[in-house]
């Protein structure tokens, strides 16, 4: 027996030694971790449970002048479906109505949706794509569809929220409003990004249950600063008209692209700007900001600038006669043509602008400035036509006006410039010049943004910027305004004339890409109309440029671009009131007076029972009784001679009373 006891004891010692060794090892390791590697692990634990959280600043919104939202940040939803999780009984019962609902909302046939979901179910697809970029209202709708209304686990409904930048007005003015993301930063959003973005804040947070993070201290390391709001000058109504009118013309003429800009004359505020380009499918969308970036030969629109320069130099007057001959004229070994067959013969300089005679302008300028072209070019430059406008929106095209000595200069350069070739301007630059003419010579810079706001506080306002207080003499302006008015009354813009409202402007039909070999077989033009309205005290100036309309349908500025201009002018005209003031004619007839007094006295007394309306004028009696809650049935016309309910009876609302009038 003692032997076995000792054996057990020995075994016990061995076990004890093992356990002791084990504990020593643990303690050793603990000390090792705490002391030797302590810092490393402590920082590791901090990394896992603590983080420096960025508090996202809300991005500012872009508003129109009247407070409509043009761009804002909003939640959008992507919908997916876990097709496998749904209980098969529920699935079979509801799949058809779900497919019906989906097809109604997202298009495609119910059959398509049913097939799609069934297929996903057999393939055990737990993440079937249904729709993306849904707005909140659509999201709420889809959430209540059969099956989906059972929720995530039973109905397999998966919605993923993300914050996106949206343009609530859709495609309207999209390019000018712009965006600021991985694609770049065009438009207003790009230009004012530093205001819109705000600054992200920082805050230390600790991990707690359910994957949430708890802030450690009360104070943020850095407070977030929300982005500011931008209020643009765009008027949603004018923008809408401009956009749809341009779209209609582009579609009809199957043109490549076009743009329209409406500018307030006095302030330079851009009220509407629309740029549409054609896709390969033939539809149009805001492709590029043509009005701002596209430099092109302005063609006939530039004749105004030539005329102003010539009038300023006092080398000609509006009455100066020029012989345009028979529509074909050879100058420096090159033929110049007029659009009218047979030509215009001998006409005045003013008439040359009205009918847009190339020969007229080439001769007027070449014969007066041929020996000293620098004088003409410097006059143009004095009117800032060679300068960029310096817009905050990036991508503005640089205008080019060649001068003697340049590569582009030749003997023919001067006469070409006279009628708008051999130089380049952007539509907005052309418009700025026309606006200066409309604004009595004060050239103002186009303005897109009115102010920057933060909630209801103005942060910064933008006044008008004057480029040049007087680009040319007032007498010249008076003369050319008269001619521009006549362009629409009896010149190339005759078709646009309306006797109801006035407008003035200049058509332009410029050849483009005429240096390409196929031009003769496939003619390409740029049709434009630039002007202002009304002719007296102009309120708005506007340019419409449409590139490469289908020549078979028409290509003249007045046909292609003019109607857009007219639509806008007409719209603005019809939405302003005409106030007729009439000097007080107060009717003063005895009978009217007594009638009214009787009516008035009954009302003032406060009626408790059916009043006596006999002898009262019909209209007074009816209004009186109806206001008491009675239903009036009447016969005849004039004064009341009979009433079906006698005076003094109690009023029961809704009962009918018959009146006989005579």
């Amino acid at each position: 027996m003692p032997v076995t006891k000792k054996n057990i004891l020995n075994k016990l010692y061995i076990v004890f030694v093992f356990i002791a060794l084990f504990f020593i090892a643990i303690i050793f390791k603990m000390v090792d971790i705490q002391v030797a590697h302590g810092d490393k692990y402590r920082s590791l634990s901090e990394q896992l449970t603590l983080r420096n959280d960025t508090i996202l600043a809300n991005k500012g919104s872009v508003f129109s002048a009247d407070g409509s939202l043009l761009a804002t940040s909003m939640s959008q939803y992507e919908i997916r479906m876990d097709a496998y999780t749904v209980n098969s009984e529920v699935f079979e019962k509801n799949i058809q109505s779900l497919a019906d609902s989906l097809s109604k909302m997202l298009g495609n046939t119910p059959n398509h949706w049913e097939q799609k979901i069934r297929k996903a179910r057999t393939h055990k697809n737990r993440y079937l794509f249904i729709a993306r970029r849904l707005g909140y209202n659509d999201y709420m709708k889809i959430k209540h569809f059969p099956i989906f209304n059972l929720g995530m686990y039973k109905g397999g409904f998966i919605a993923e929220q993300s914050t996106v930048r949206v343009h609530p007005l859709g495609k309207v003015a999209e390019r000018t409003i712009g965006y600021d993301d991985y694609r770049g930063a065009p438009g207003i959003e790009g230009a004012y990004r530093k205001y819109l973005r705000g600054e992200h804040g920082l805050r230390k947070k600790q991990k707690i249950a359910k994957g949430q993070w708890k802030p450690i201290s009360d104070n943020n390391e850095k407070e977030p600063i929300d982005g500011k709001d931008i209020v643009t000058t765009i008027d949603v109504n004018i923008q809408d008209i401009a956009h749809h009118s341009l779209l209609r013309q582009l579609e009809y003429y199957n043109a490549d692209h076009g743009c329209v800009v409406v500018m307030e004359t006095k302030t330079g505020e851009i009220k509407a700007i629309s740029n549409l380009g054609r896709t390969s499918k033939g539809t149009y969308y805001e492709k590029r900001n043509y009005a701002i970036y596209e430099t092109q030969e302005p063609g006939s629109a530039f004749k105004l600038m030539s005329l102003v320069a010539a009038l300023e130099a006092k080398v000609i007057d509006t009455g100066t006669i020029v012989d345009t001959g028979e529509g074909r004229y050879k100058m420096h070994n090159r033929f110049i043509h007029d659009s009218k067959r047979g030509g215009y013969g001998k006409i005045s300089a003013a008439r040359a602008l009205e009918v847009s005679s190339n020969i007229g302008f080439a001769r007027l300028i070449d014969e007066n400035f041929g020996k000293n072209p620098d004088a003409f070019i410097s006059l143009l430059k004095k009117m800032h036509l060679h300068q960029k406008l310096g817009l905050p929106i990036k991508g503005e095209g640089t205008p080019t006006i060649p001068a003697p000595g340049d590569k582009k200069w030749s003997k023919n350069a001067l006469p070409s410039i006279a009628y708008g070739y051999n130089l380049e301007l952007t539509p907005l630059q052309t418009l700025t010049f026309y606006n200066a003419i409309a604004n009595d010579g004060e050239m103002v810079k186009p303005k897109f943004v009115k102010e920057i706001r933060s909630w209801n506080n103005q942060v910064e306002t933008f006044g008008k910027t004057v480029i040049d207080p007087q680009i040319c003499s007032k007498s010249t302006i008076k003369k050319v305004r008269e001619i521009l008015k006549n362009v629409v009354v009896r010149g190339t813009g005759k078709k646009l004339y309306s006797k109801n409202f006035s407008m003035a402007g200049k058509t332009g039909t410029a050849r483009t890409e005429y240096w390409m070999k196929d031009w003769e077989t496939n003619r390409r033009y740029v049709s434009s109309f630039t002007g202002y309205f009304p002719t007296e005290n102009p309120k708005y100036s506007c340019i419409v440029v449409i590139s490469k309309p289908k020549v078979q349908k028409g290509y003249y500025g007045a046909d292609v671009s003019g109607p857009v201009f007219k639509d806008i002018a007409q719209k603005i005209y019809t939405s302003s009131h005409i106030i007729n003031k009439i000097n007080g004619i107060e009717p003063n007839f005895e009978s009217v007076k007594t009638n009214f007094e009787r009516y008035y006295s009954i009302i003032n007394k406060g009626v408790k029972a059916i009043p006596n309306v006999k002898g009262m004028a019909g209209m007074d009696a009816i209004s009186l009784l109806e206001n008491l809650g009675l239903k009036v049935i009447f016969q005849g016309n004039g004064k009341v001679i009979e009433q079906s309910i006698p005076e003094g009876q109690k009023i029961v609302k809704g009962t009918a009373i018959k009146l006989k009038l005579a």
Binding site: S68, L69, T72, M74, S75, Q76, G135, Y136, N137, D138, Y139, M140, Q161, T163, V166, P168, L169, G170, I208, A209, K210, Q212, W213, K214, P215, V236, N237, D240, I241, H243, H244, N500, Q570, K571, Y573, T574, S575, S576, H577, I578, I579, N580, K581, I582, N583, G584, I585, E586
Partner: protein, 79 residues
């Protein structure tokens, strides 16, 4: 004993602060949803009130925009 009470208090308060955080997260989500609803609804309304939309809608009623502006008659009383 006092220390135990203090510790209990501490635990309780830290839990309640956790709860607050959950609540804030919930409310934030709600703000986002309400904001989305606001913007989405507003954008629908804005599109509806655009003249081009109305023009097409009233075409069914054979109405079209006026070609002349409204005339306002203002009576001035001369005394």
């Amino acid at each position: 004993m006092f220390i135990v009470v203090l510790m209990l208090l501490m635990i309780a308060s830290s839990h309640s602060s956790d709860k607050e955080v959950m609540e804030i997260a919930k409310l934030n989500k709600e703000i986002k949803e309400l904001r989305a609803e606001f913007v989405d609804t507003r954008s629908i309304v804005m599109k509806l009130k655009l003249e081009s939309t109305i023009k097409n809608k009233v075409l069914e009623l054979e109405l079209k925009p006026s070609e002349t502006p409204p005339q306002v008659i203002k009576v001035i009383t001369v005394k």
